[in-house]
Amino acid sequence: MSIAADALKNFEKITPKNIPLVEPLSRGHRGCQGCGEVLALRMVAKAVGSSMIAVSATGCMEIITSPYPQTAWEVPWIHVAFENTAAVASGVEAGRKALIRKGRIKDDGAKIVAYAGDGGTADIGMQALSGALERGHDFTYVCLDNEAYMNTGIQRSSSTPWGAGTTTSPAGLKSKGQMTWKKNMAAIAAAHNIPYVATASPAFHLDLMNKVKKAITVPGPAYVHIFSPCPTGWRCAPEDSLETARLVVGTRIFPLYEVIDGRYVLSRDVKNPKPVEDYLKIQRRFRHLKPEDIAVIQKRVDQDWERLLALVKATNPEAKTD
């Protein structure tokens, strides 16, 4: 399978010199100070440009950009419900496909980009997403992962990391907060054998935008999982928002990689990782953790990193991995 590789042969990278000036998601929305999610979504929209058709799940990004009669969207945008974003996107794609084939609308090259939070993706929207990926619709799905249900007030999701305190996984005398490990959504998306999967962080904006551009360039479904800091929910300073997005990569907690036609490629080899504690200590959602708890997280992160390297090696038999 080389669907993505073929489509990306002449890929023109976004660089500091040609960053798109277009702002399909305009200023004036109602995001919190330091919101890493809307920053990530803005980068997504810039990378796609004015040919974007945005399909939104219910969530923070929906409510802060569309309080009727105001909208922050300069491109066609549709919101229906929480769990069905991928299904709505598949309908938009099917409808356009039929109308273009029947000559009723012209092929304007529009790109369908669905987005949802981690709850709308890894929990309630999982079935609709899996169906849409399996059916092979030509669309890009972006998960804006802020690791809990922030819009409803910081409740845990299956994407909340181990040890994080949320309003439904509070730390207490008998609990360290979230007691389960974060669901690996990118791996689940990759298991659908779709052409393109990537992880991204807004602290690495060119990497993020290039991945989104690749995702919309490849035919068929693409999935981009974006780490999206939420200072409000993570109990960190708004000015530390991007720092968390940087540290999560620098500690190997959230590795940046692509899965191109099933081939794992590291976007950023973190040779000298910082201790996970550096990342945890600037967020009060982790403040109850004791040194032995942090050691548990460190061990898990080390294991996951080794596993990722093994996947890179296994899917790139000829390439050197170090």
Binding site: S51, T71, W73, V80, A81, A87, A94, L99, A128
Partner: protein, 391 residues
């Protein structure tokens, strides 16, 4: 000229969607709707229908994909039943609020539990308030005709609402009936291609499905309500146009031998045919009985209904669903409320019959009539009885 054919009603329903030249079909299989979507899948696979068939992974995604497809400007069809319709519930309200002209065929079936795949109206009676135009077919020809009419009404710029065509599961969907299949040219003359007023178009960006704060939510609901109430005239107008094009007449309320009737049965769906047969027998025995059948369920045709029951001394309202904890079934509850509001002092006896595929026979109609007449004569209270319960 139309062809006279013998066809399973499910296939006739699918053929209607084909004649309407739908652009997208998104559906998930559920008994007894399966033959409808299977036939559409075949029509697409054989190239007889140029459409995208989206084999979604659930009914929730079926209606969600329909919302997306309709918002993209495509003529969109789906079909479901029972649990599937219930799974769509959340999105049905959104589809009408977003004013998207989706057409859905519902093969009416009992809701679980216990699990039961056979006919009654409990699925659609749980969806009375979704804001869709809803019609009920009595026979195969009506299924075909109401389907074509549904697209015409839904896409009318004065309406822009989704439409459900109800057809009794198995009792209609799985029987072969003689019917007149119109020519494509006739349908094209009646139903031109869909011209959306708005669609997701990068040349003219719009935001659809925005947040409605308390300052605008009430007004948005009022606008949807007005659209639904306003669809009444359009429904009738397009039935008149249908009669002109195809020669078959349809009305919101259908009457049978009601002119001098002292007692009227009120039915919906295929039960109307059994009811008419029972009335013929009763009339031969000298009983002044007739029936009215509700074809247009939403918006409810208040004036047509009141005109149809003029002169009657009592009504027997048939429900094929329960409304647990309420003194009557859903149809009788509504009609009693309507009659009270309009100042009628007309006794309404209510029978809940035909649940989960239980047959309703001519003998049942005679029994119901006997009981109702006794109650009317005694001037007694309006009751609700479940017919044929084994105790």
């Amino acid at each position: 000229m139309a062809r006279r054919v013998g066809l399973e009603v499910s296939l006739a329903c699918a053929e209607a969607a084909k004649l309407a030249n739908v652009d997208v079909v998104a559906a998930y299989p559920i008994t007894p709707q399966t033959h409808i979507v299977e036939h559409l899948a075949e029509l697409v696979a054989d190239g007889h229908l140029d459409a995208e068939f989206v084999p979604v992974e659930s009914e929730h995604s079926a209606i969600s994909a329909c919302v997306g497809s309709s918002a993209a400007g495509a003529r969109t069809f789906t079909s479901s039943s029972s649990q599937g319709l219930a799974l769509m519930h959340e999105i049905l309200f959104i589809a009408s609020a977003m004013r998207l002209p989706i057409v859905m065929a519902v093969a009416n079936r009992a809701l679980s539990g216990p699990l039961n795949i056979w006919n009654d109206h409990s699925d659609i009676m749980a969806e009375r308030d979704i804001g869709w135009v809803q019609t009920f077919a009595e026979n195969g020809q009506e299924v075909l005709d109401l389907m074509l009419h549904a697209f015409k009404v839904a896409e009318d710029k004065r309406v822009c609402l989704p439409v459900i065509v109800n057809m009794d599961g198995f009792l209609l969907t799985h029987v072969i009936e003689p019917l007149l299949m119109p020519e494509q040219a006739e349908v094209d003359a009646y139903l031109p291609p869909y011209q959306p007023q708005q669609r997701l178009d990068i040349a003219q960006p719009i935001s659809m499905g925005m947040v409605g704060m308390p300052e605008v939510y009430t007004e948005a609901k009022k606008a949807s309500l007005e659209a639904l109430l306003g669809s009444y005239d359009v429904v009738k107008e397009h039935w008149a146009g249908f009669a002109k094009q195809f020669g078959r007449q349809y009305k919101p309320i259908e009457s049978y031998r009601s002119e001098d009737a002292e007692v009227l049965f009120v039915t919906m769906g295929s039960l109307g045919e059994t009811c008419m047969t029972a009335i013929d027998e009763l009339r031969e025995a000298g009983v002044k009985v007739g029936s009215v059948r509700i074809r247009l369920w939403r918006p409810f045709p208040v004036d047509d209904f009141l005109a149809a029951i003029q002169g009657a001394k009592g009504l027997i309202v048939m429900d094929r669903a329960l409304s647990p904890g309420v003194p009557a079934g859903p149809v009788a509850t509504e009609l009693r409320g309507l009659l009270y509001a309009k100042g009628y002092h007309l006794p309404v006896q209510n029978f809940v019959a035909g649940l989960g595929g239980r047959d309703v026979t001519r003998a049942d109609f005679r029994m119901m009539l006997d009981k109702a007449r006794k109650a009317f004569a005694a001037g007694g209270e309006m009751t609700c009885e479940m017919v044929g319960v084994k105790e």
